[in-house]
């Protein structure tokens, strides 16, 4: 995120006060850009989810028992992953709250916790994928496998990128480069992380729970 220069009070200054660039909308351009990106990401995941819905019962190749997702999923295990990601959303929100209050140390703790929880989620996904492959459902086994791995794989990549950003912000805070004046940076990243969580809410319900 770009550093903001200090200007005097001007018309159209952002809601974050005189330390942000003046914009024609009166709101942060970076934050608006993130919301636009998240709106566009809805289209990406909409495509992947609808493709999965269309293809999940259309497999004609591979073992018969691997053509029905209900035979493959371990709902209790995935439920734990869901709770982990949900809790990471809480710690991310707490990190944003902390940095807005000027509590850099607390923010750093919550950023690190969020990254750890995200890593646990990814670890769960990797374990789940490898167990499915061991049972015979690979990416090219049948169309169910392709659709499932593409959807959850894209989500996993989003989470992984988020973890990298979290670690980058953690290091920035250690070096004293993430203070209350950079609170918007944490807030904007928080929007991305919560979006990753709500996409999982959709995936968990549509892919795993609905038979």
């Amino acid at each position: 995120m770009a550093d903001t220069a200090i200007h005097g009070p001007v018309a159209g200054e952002t809601e974050h006060g005189p330390h942000s660039h003046a914009t024609s909308t009166g709101i942060s351009n970076e934050k608006l850009a993130m919301w636009v990106f998240l709106g566009s990401d809805c289209l990406l995941f909409g495509a992947l989810i609808s493709t999965y819905l269309l293809l999940r019962h259309r497999s004609i190749s591979g073992p018969v028992e691997l053509r029905d997702p209900a035979n493959i999923f371990d709902i209790p295990f995935t439920s734990v992953s869901s709770f982990v990601l949900l809790f990471s959303s809480l710690t991310m929100a707490l990190a944003v709250g902390a940095i807005h209050r000027g509590d850099v140390r607390r923010c750093r703790v919550f950023l690190c916790t969020t990254a750890l929880l995200g890593s646990v989620f990814i670890g769960g996904q990797v374990y789940e994928f490898t167990s499915f492959v061991r049972e015979g459902l690979g990416y090219t086994t049948n169309i169910l496998g392709s659709a499932f791995y593409t959807l959850t794989g894209f989500h996993g990549v989003h989470v992984s990128v988020g973890i990298m950003f979290l670690m980058a912000m953690f290091v920035m805070s250690l070096r004293g480069r993430l203070g209350p004046d950079r609170a918007e940076t944490v807030e904007i990243f928080g929007l991305y992380w919560h979006f990753v969580d709500i996409v999982w809410i959709l995936i968990f319900t549509i892919v795993y729970l609905i038979p």
């Binding site: 809601e15 974050h16 006060g17 330390h19 909308t25 009166g26 709101i27 934050k31 608006l32 919301w35 636009v36 998240l38 709106g39 566009s40 809805c42 289209l43 995941f45 909409g46 989810i49 269309l54 019962h57 259309r58 209790p76 439920s79 869901s82 709770f83 949900l86 809790f87 959303s89 809480l90 991310m92 929100a93 707490l94 944003v96 709250g97 807005h100 209050r101 000027g102 509590d103 850099v104 140390r105 805070s173 250690l174 004293g176 203070g179 209350p180 928080g190 929007l191 919560h194 979006f195 969580d197 709500i198 809410i201 959709l202 968990f204 319900t205 549509i206 729970l209 609905i210 038979p211």
Partner: protein, 119 residues
């Protein structure tokens, strides 16, 4: 602790940060929201053990729960409830566009009549 962090921790919040802090939910609000989301998730997971429930009944329970959880995270964690309405419009536009486009796509692919049964 670095000098910069000490300065950040010791310095009083600037006016615009104070104003933003007043509109920002408290940590306890976030915790309450997370507890509600956890309870809703537990209810969702419990449907896995409803052996006698039909697919239609499960969809009727799971979809509203999914939408409620989605809305709660967007409103509270993503701060959309407290933020400038322009953010809400931008996100809702993208979301509605995705929903409409893919409902049309599913309909064009005969998803509702060809293999998907709600009863």
């Amino acid at each position: 602790m670095s000098m910069a962090e000490t300065e950040h921790k010791g310095a009083p919040l600037e006016p615009h940060h104070e104003a933003h802090q007043k509109t920002h939910p408290s940590d306890w609000t976030y915790i309450k929201v997370a507890l509600v989301l956890g309870a809703l998730t537990a209810l969702e997971v419990s449907t896995y053990y409803w052996e006698k429930a039909s697919t239609g009944a499960l969809v009727a329970v799971l979809f509203p729960l999914m939408i409620i959880k989605f809305g709660v995270v967007v409103a509270y964690f993503m701060h959309l409830r407290y933020d400038n309405p322009l953010f809400r419009r931008v996100f809702v536009f993208g979301l509605l566009l995705a929903v409409v486009v893919y409902l049309v796509a599913l309909t064009a692919m005969q998803f509702w009549t060809d293999g998907w049964s709600l009863i």
